[in-house]
């Protein structure tokens, strides 16, 4: 598609009376391959490209998407959209956007080893080697599903305010699902790795080692694991769990569109209210950030899908609620500037308030120091099942790679320790945070229609005191 098409669309909608127009041309070139129980099922090479337009007319937000590049068809669909938006203005919300700085920028992530220079055979070799590495452990693994996806996303965004942003970001993503069995027992785990980088990131992961280690840890837990103790104890969570905790019970409830109720029908609202800025939500050592500018992270961007310059956002600062995640609409409602949190899955979805890389800021404890004064506790390094209610008030995490701690020492594996806890209790129970840092990839789903964007969840390990497991 050529750029003149979105320029035409923008001018045409402006002429028809829209007070604001934002048009984006976006293409995704995606290669995906997966191995199921040693068999390469299929290789896919897909290109999606199209045009997404957001505009405000008669105080109502209209959104148009198409992958049909002919000017006349584009004109027809724009006319249909303007007609629908005009009819809808009977129930207008009167949407307004915050005033923002205009940017004209172009940026791209340089790939040290270009993904296009790697053949499908070479990519598949990574998975075949990983599959062999699992089998070499002699762990019974009746289910081995491993997929590797790379994608090049190109965007060109213009707005009627004069913003013009061009970007090119490569993504690499590993996803696996392992099922192991031992006598009549079984265990399952899925996980992901993701970066915005070239093939060098995949080589750095060392996929065969990841899968081999995973299979061995799962077997150790399944064969030697004991039931968790009853009563009150302490819990250390590793970055995979602290990351999902941050994502679910800090990131989501701090999305301002939830707070204002726009996504109430499906994605839900928030137990956090607009007037809670400055209120304490956790212990003094808790600082949570959302930072899209972390180099090579899965949630990386320098300008959001409204063309606003990205920055690090401090959601919780020393236990106090510091700021929410905003797009221009929610920023206007709170009388502030956007902090560049508007993201869309692709051209066919509207940009809504999203996280990028949500992280628990590191503290100053080593792993040994976190453990040493625990009389009775559990170290949960990773998890399987989790969920949280739609106000983000009560959540559950089921540990997989988990161990009993007794008198400052790690003793033996524990099977399925289950943490079912409210958000305020969780963030107030933490008394120590590790020095370590890990970013873990995920796709975060939100909105109706549902859309998923790449994020990192992660940060440091944390110690929770006086916890009752379920």
């Amino acid at each position: 598609m050529d750029k003149s098409l979105i320029d035409f669309a923008l001018r045409y909608i402006e002429k028809r009376g829209a007070s604001y127009v934002e048009a984006k041309l976006e293409s995704h070139e995606t290669n995906e391959l997966f191995l199921k129980n040693s068999i390469p099922e299929a290789i896919s090479f897909l290109t999606t490209q199209g045009l997404g337009i957001r505009y405000i007319a008669d105080g109502t937000l209209g959104f148009i998407s198409t992958n049909c590049p002919e000017k006349n068809r584009l004109k027809t669909i724009i006319d249909k959209s303007l007609n629908l938006t005009k009819r809808s203005s009977k129930y207008r919300e009167g949407i307004k956007l915050s005033e923002e700085k205009i940017h004209k920028k172009s940026y791209k992530i340089k790939q040290k080893i270009n993904l296009r220079d790697i053949s499908p055979e070479e990519k598949l070799k990574e998975l075949v080697e990983a599959d062999k590495a699992i089998l070499s452990t002699k762990v019974k693994t009746p289910g081995r599903y491993i997929s590797l996806t790379d994608k090049l996303v190109k965007k060109y965004l213009i707005t009627s305010d004069g913003t013009e942003i061009q970007s090119e970001i490569p993504y690499v993503n590993l996803h696996y699902f392992l099922t192991i069995t031992e006598k009549n027992k079984s265990s399952q785990r899925q996980w992901q790795y993701g970066n915005t980088a070239g093939w060098e990131a995949v080589k750095k992961w060392n996929i065969p080692k990841i899968l081999k280690d995973e299979a061995l840890v799962m077997k150790n837990n399944l064969t030697k694991g004991k039931v968790p103790p009853k009563g009150v104890l302490d819990v250390i969570v590793g970055p995979q769990i602290s990351g999902i905790m941050v994502h679910e019970s800090v990131g989501h409830p701090y999305e301002a569109d939830r707070i204002f109720g726009r996504e109430a029908a499906q994605a839900g609202e928030s137990f956090i209210t607009e007037d809670m800025i400055g209120k304490r939500i956790g212990s003094e050592i808790i600082t949570v950030i959302d930072d899209p500018t972390v180099e090579s992270s899965f949630g990386f961007y320098l300008y959001d899908d409204e063309g606003i310059g990205a920055r690090k956002k401090i959601l919780i600062k020393k236990g106090i609620i510091n700021e929410f995640l905003h797009n221009r609409e929610t920023a206007y409602k709170m009388g502030i500037k956007s902090n560049a949190s508007a993201r869309a899955e692709n051209y066919s979805k509207e940009a809504i308030v999203r996280m990028s890389n949500s992280l628990l800021a590191p503290g100053d404890y080593t792993e040994e120091e976190l453990i040493e004064d625990i009389k009775l506790g559990i170290f949960m390094k990773n998890f399987t099942e989790w969920n949280i209610d739609d106000k983000r008030f009560q959540q559950k995490y089921v540990g997989l790679d988990a161990y009993l701690i007794k008198n400052g020492k790690i003793m033996y594996p524990i099977i399925k320790p289950t943490l079912e806890i409210t958000t305020p209790y969780l963030w107030n129970s933490i008394d120590a945070i590790g020095k370590n840092f890990e970013g873990h990839a995920a796709f975060c789903g939100k909105g109706e229609p549902m859309q998923a964007v790449p994020v990192w969840c992660g940060g440091a390990s944390a110690r929770l005191r006086n916890i009752r497991l379920n």
């Binding site: 209209g62 809808s88 099922t179 806890i421």
Partner: protein, 439 residues
């Protein structure tokens, strides 16, 4: 079909053996509302041309945008060069041989669906909620028209046009008291937005002043909306792909009693007005009604031609070229009225919506899910009060075995998280494990 035939010829010339060309054209509009105001309109037009190509057990899935003859020739040559270097899938055994004849599905396509008075429809749904005394409603109205054409190297040639309407409304009596209802239909005639508005409003009003729920074992009545995601999970567990990948709690259970006798699950792609209905599968085979679970006994797994050959069975016409999939799940209704399910329950919970279902282990079926919107404590056959902050933490096989009664109130619905549409009545399940946060 002309351009597709030209492409097929060019691909055949390059030595491709199995070729499936699928063209989809989608036109859609949406009205998203929040706090009684329209917060977004959506208008969409999308055309996609996708390919499933094989050569000597090598499989390539790809697509094409620009359809000039020059570009098609380039595409055919490039694909042939690309597939040569791919690894073989030794488990692949081909696609079905056509030609086929297709049955027409009634109430499948309403060609004027995009021209209906959408605002009027929205108002009807909202007013039905407001008439229950509700002051706030949120949700979406979505109307879609789709045309699908399919052509294969084995002489299958198929085409269908379909329409769909979806109205989802969440009514709020206050911040803590809500009710949710979804309604889907192929045609306007059976698209009862007023039912959804009224139903969501009624639940919200009853949900005022919820008390903290308590953990323990309960008899649970699931309404159709919360069941839709769980029934989708059971349907997906019937796919041979899930069975092979370790993602099915129904693996190794063919012909075994895996659910109570009260439970019969059918995949019926020819169902009248079925939102998942389709005349043909992704190989172009005419679809058929498949009984998956009959009176609690697992009857069959879902197959495409290739997986069926591996298992020495017949395809169930559920391609999914890589993963066979259910089309339109139907739970056979019972004879009891929904309100009669409450009789005889000493200690129970009535669930009107669920969200965030996650599995600890798909192979064993261990899962948990969170009731949301109106959730009610039942004692001695009567609803006593609304409750909150609980979680269903159980196992799918337990749940299916503990189905005590299936009601006759069939509703076609789909949920936000699990998009598989299903036609489901309310179901009473005994001895369900309920947990809650410890702190």
């Amino acid at each position: 079909m002309e351009i597709k035939k030209y492409i097929k010829t060019r691909l055949e010339k390059q030595g491709f053996e199995d070729i499936i060309i699928t063209k989809n054209i989608l036109e859609a509009k949406q009205i998203k509302f929040s706090k009684n105001k329209i917060v977004k309109t959506g208008t969409e037009l999308a055309e996609d041309l996708s390919f499933f190509l094989t050569k000597n057990k090598r499989i390539l899935v790809t697509d094409l945008k620009e359809l000039s003859k020059q570009n098609i020739d380039k595409f055919a040559k490039k694909s042939a060069k690309f597939i040569k270097n791919l690894p073989k899938n030794e488990n692949y055994y081909g696609i079905a041989k056509g030609p086929f004849k297709y049955k027409n599905i009634k109430e499948f396509y309403d060609k004027k669906v995009l021209d209906i008075n959408d605002i009027d429809l929205l108002e009807k749904g909202l007013n039905a909620s407001f008439n229950q005394g509700i002051k706030r409603a949120d949700g979406i109205l979505e109307i879609t028209k789709t045309k699908t054409e399919l052509l294969t190297s084995n002489n299958a040639e198929a085409e269908q046009q379909s329409s769909s309407l979806y109205f989802s409304i969440r009514s709020f009596a206050n911040k803590e008291a809500s009710g949710h209802s979804n309604i889907v239909s192929r045609t306007l005639k059976k698209f009862d937005v007023e039912y959804a508005g009224k139903h969501s409003g009624e639940i919200a009003k009853k949900a005022l002043n919820p008390q903290e729920g308590k953990e323990g074992k309960y008899d649970v009545i699931f309404d159709p909306l919360p069941l839709s995601g769980l029934i989708g999970d059971i349907g997906n567990a019937c796919s041979i792909f899930s069975v092979e990948a370790g993602l099915s709690f129904l693996a190794n259970k063919l012909k075994k009693q895996i659910a109570s006798k009260a439970f019969t699950l059918i995949d019926d792609p020819l169902y009248l007005n079925g939102i998942g209905a389709t005349k043909f599968d992704l190989e172009g085979i005419p679809t058929q009604k498949n009984i998956l679970i009959k009176n609690g006994i697992l009857q069959k797994y879902l197959h495409n031609t290739s997986t069926a050959k591996r298992y020495n069975t017949k395809t169930t016409a559920n391609a999914g070229l890589i993963a066979p999939q259910p089309w339109n799940l139907v739970v056979k209704p019972g004879k009891t009225k929904q309100e009669s399910l409450f009789k005889g329950i000493k200690k129970g919970i009535y669930i009107t919506n669920l969200w965030y279902t996650r599995f600890t282990n798909y192979f064993t079926g261990d899962f948990s899910t969170i009731p949301r919107d109106g959730t009610f404590y039942i004692e001695n056959g009567e609803i006593k009060y609304p409750i909150k902050n609980i979680r269903v933490s159980d196992n799918m096989l337990n749940l299916m075995k503990n189905i005590k009664e299936v009601a006759n109130n069939v509703i076609q619905t789909k949920s936000w998280e699990a998009q598989e549409p299903a036609i489901i009545p309310s179901i009473l399940v005994t001895n369900i494990n309920i947990t809650k946060p410890t702190q």
